[in-house]
């Protein structure tokens, strides 16, 4: 499914935009700058991962302290929900690889590729 590289009007290859390129910060909504300004910061992904991993560890520890009562006895194992949540999520996501190869067809497979409804706004340009 690789797209052929784009060419400009004189036939030369155009460099595709890289995911690592500096974020494009033109025309950003002022509220976005206040609320989500931190999203584009280069250290954000690692900090978030650290935060979530710490929270996860904290939840495992909390489970040692809390005496849980479950209707189903196996759910009382320490961190049962945590393991099951991690495993279920990973299984769902990883199954996307084989399922994609198995089930994905061309967009126009049924001859109904154009699904843009008429009540969307026409772009200004």
């Amino acid at each position: 499914m690789t797209q052929p590289p784009e060419r400009d009007s004189s036939g030369r290859f155009v460099k595709p935009p890289s995911e690592d390129a500096a974020p494009d910060n033109r025309n950003v909504h002022p509220l976005s700058r206040i609320l989500f300004g931190w999203v584009d910061h280069p250290r954000t992904p690692n900090l978030l991962l650290l935060l979530v991993a710490t929270a996860a560890a904290g939840l495992f520890l909390a489970d040692l302290v809390v005496d849980r009562h479950e209707y189903l006895s196996f759910a009382e194992w320490n961190g049962f929900y945590a393991w099951w949540g991690f495993g279920a999520f990973a299984l769902a996501v990883l199954s996307g690889w084989p399922l994609g190869y198995l089930l994905r067809r061309d967009e126009d497979y049924y001859g109904e590729a154009d699904t843009k409804p008429q009540d969307v706004e026409e772009p200004d340009e």
Binding site: L49, A56, R68, Y71, G79, A82, G85, F89, A92, P117
Partner: protein, 591 residues
């Protein structure tokens, strides 16, 4: 005066005003009607006395109960009316006479079907939901939408026909059409009605109409569609099939399989449609359990779900309206231009993922507890898997790939104010009914609406003398285990994304079981059409030849110039007369 008002069925009111609205060319008047009517409906519903036949008529020798409110129908009708009000606000920026009117009629039909007191009335409004909702798909104006709308209509009408068939059987065997719950499938009517409900509730293998039609509807249409049809079916199951064990397993399967389709699907409105299916599974499963706690779980979940699923469809509608697509592969970075929509979408996503403090948590906890209480370990594990799956496709995939992720470079305007207002109100409800009880404000409002309370509706909830204990969603156990599930699933997402194991979003059509009727099934009909085109004339020619040959033979024998007319009659005629007389005499002698 008050007694007269309580006889007006709010659903019927919405249906009629909707029809008036579709003929009303003045935009502001029409939109005023679209907003005011659901509010009036809410007032009428609140004023109506419970468990009384409020409006009765008779037709075709049947007594029809048009309007009857009890604790189960109340919560569903309330949710439908609130959704209809929010949808009217969401649609204010558009000027589409037919769509506005039909959206209200559709909502009204769902309300009226919920408030119906007998099967025939239910059937009538069941069909009106099908016929009025199809316009919300057709108005998209594309060939894809037209084809999907025709498939949708065919399947919805099939559901209606099955319901009619079932109620005829029920009438024959019991002599009445009341909405009493079935206890077994012994009556064939029960089976037909079950199938009719199953189609509208999008059971596995009967689900494709939903994922086919909803993503092809208009921006507003998809929001409206997401609220009514399927939840009407959930209500119908809760009313007529509570405690049927088969529903537990069907529900569990329904929660699990859409997770896998949602992972690979690129169109985010279609992802939401699969997610809708997964959420219905929780409700169907709870209805199968059938205990008061489980039925409360199903009804509470339906209420919360109507609001947060509407909210998610609204946010994707806003993106579609501004950007022109909801394909994940073409979106990303929209938080830079649509911050309000981003916030509302995240609130919807956290509600559906059942984070504590949001409506999904207080609703889904009841179902999970009821399944655990019933001892269904495998089903419970399936539902837990599906809960992590919801976080994957609705909690993370929808907001992440639309508003964050790889910046698509698209800079658009924020959604129109009316859309933001509708999303804001829906977000408010999601949080308000999810909070712990502080100063009389919080989840208690939702729990106060649940059908099975100690005081209400023994016939709805099959209470066997036992009191219902007040359910506590905010225990340390619940919060801790739910956070473990969600945070570790979130950690899985971050790890898989960081190390490149997360499958990239790619454009394409994902095959589902509707392939069977859209490809081989359709192909078979095309092929048989071609065969008939050839075979038909050939058969006509053959029949013509045979007929003319037979005619020629007969003519050769009997016509004035034929064999029998030739020569004298005497010899052969005399012989034959003697023979015939002989036979007649022989027969009379023997007898």
């Amino acid at each position: 005066m008050i007694s007269l008002l309580t006889q007006i069925n709010p659903g019927l009111l919405l249906v009629l005003i909707g029809i008036v609205g579709s003929l009303m060319p003045v935009r502001r008047v029409r939109q005023g009607l679209m907003i005011a009517t659901p509010v009036l409906g809410l007032v009428l519903l609140a004023a109506a006395p419970r468990e009384v036949d409020l409006s009765v008529t008779s037709a075709l020798g049947l007594e029809l109960v048009l309007y009857r409110v009890d604790s189960l129908s109340f919560i569903f009708a309330l949710a439908f009316l609130i959704a209809s009000f929010l949808n009217a606000i969401y649609a204010l920026h558009s000027d589409d006479q037919l769509q506005d009117g039909m959206a209200l009629t559709y909502a009204g039909a769902a309300v009226a079907a919920t408030l119906a007191g007998d099967l025939m009335t239910l059937f009538i409004f069941w069909e009106i939901t099908a016929v009025s909702s199809v316009f919300l798909i057709l108005r998209a104006g594309t060939k894809a939408a037209y084809n999907a709308a025709m498939r949708y209509l065919g399947i919805q009408i099939l559901s209606g026909v099955l319901l009619l068939d079932g109620l005829a059987y029920v009438y024959k065997s019991t002599g009445e059409l009341s909405l009493t719950a079935f206890t077994s499938f012994n009556d064939p009517g029960a089976l037909f009605i079950f199938l009719a409900f199953a189609i509208k509730a999008a059971f596995p293998f009967l689900h494709n109409w939903l994922q086919d039609a909803y993503p092809k509807a208009t921006v507003i249409g998809a929001v409206v569609l997401s609220a009514f049809t399927t939840k009407l079916a959930v209500y119908a199951f809760a009313r007529m099939f509570p405690g049927f064990e088969i529903l537990i397993w069907i529900g569990a399967v329904m929660t699990v399989f859409p997770v896998f389709f949602a992972v690979v699907e690129n169109d985010l409105r279609k992802v939401l449609s699969y997610s809708l299916n997964n959420q219905l599974g929780f409700m169907i499963c709870a209805i199968g359990i059938g205990t008061p706690l489980a039925l409360n779980g199903a009804a509470g979940h339906a209420f919360a779900h109507i609001i947060y699923k509407g909210l998610l469809f609204m946010s994707m509608g806003a993106v579609l309206y501004r950007v022109g697509t909801t394909k994940a592969s073409e979106l990303g970075g929209l938080y830079k231009s649509m911050p309000w929509t981003t916030i509302f979408c995240i609130i919807g996503a956290m509600s559906i993922s059942a984070f504590p403090l949001f409506s999904g948590f207080v609703a889904k906890s009841m179902t999970m507890s009821a399944v655990g209480q019933g001892g269904y370990a495998v089903v419970w594990m399936m539902l837990l898997f599906a809960s992590a799956g919801v976080l994957e496709h609705s909690g993370i995939k929808i907001p992440y790939f639309t508003f964050f992720g790889h910046d698509s470079g698209r800079r658009v305007k924020e959604a129109p104010f009316n859309m933001l207002l509708a999303m804001g109100l829906a977000s408010f409800i999601c949080i308000a009914i999810g909070l712990p009880m502080i100063g009389g404000f919080g989840y208690g409002w939702l729990y106060g609406l649940l059908p099975c309370t100690a005081a209400a509706a023994a016939d709805v909830c099959m209470l066997s003398g036992e009191e219902i204990k007040a359910y506590q969603p905010y225990t340390l156990d619940h919060v801790l285990t739910q956070m473990q599930l969600l945070i570790l699933a979130l950690l899985a997402f971050m790890v898989l994304k960081k190390y490149g194991f997360y499958p990239p979003e790619r454009p394409g059509t994902i095959l589902d079981t509707d392939w069977l009727y859209r490809r081989p099934g359709y192909g078979f009909f095309v092929w048989s059409g071609r065969v008939w085109d050839k075979l038909g004339p050939a058969m006509t020619t053959l029949a013509g030849r045979l007929a003319s040959a037979a005619f020629n033979r007969l003519e050769a024998a009997f016509s004035p110039r034929g064999t029998l007319a030739r020569g004298a009659l005497t010899t052969s005629m005399a012989v034959w007369s003697v023979v015939l007389l002989g036979i007649v005499m022989a027969v009379t002698l023997i007898l």
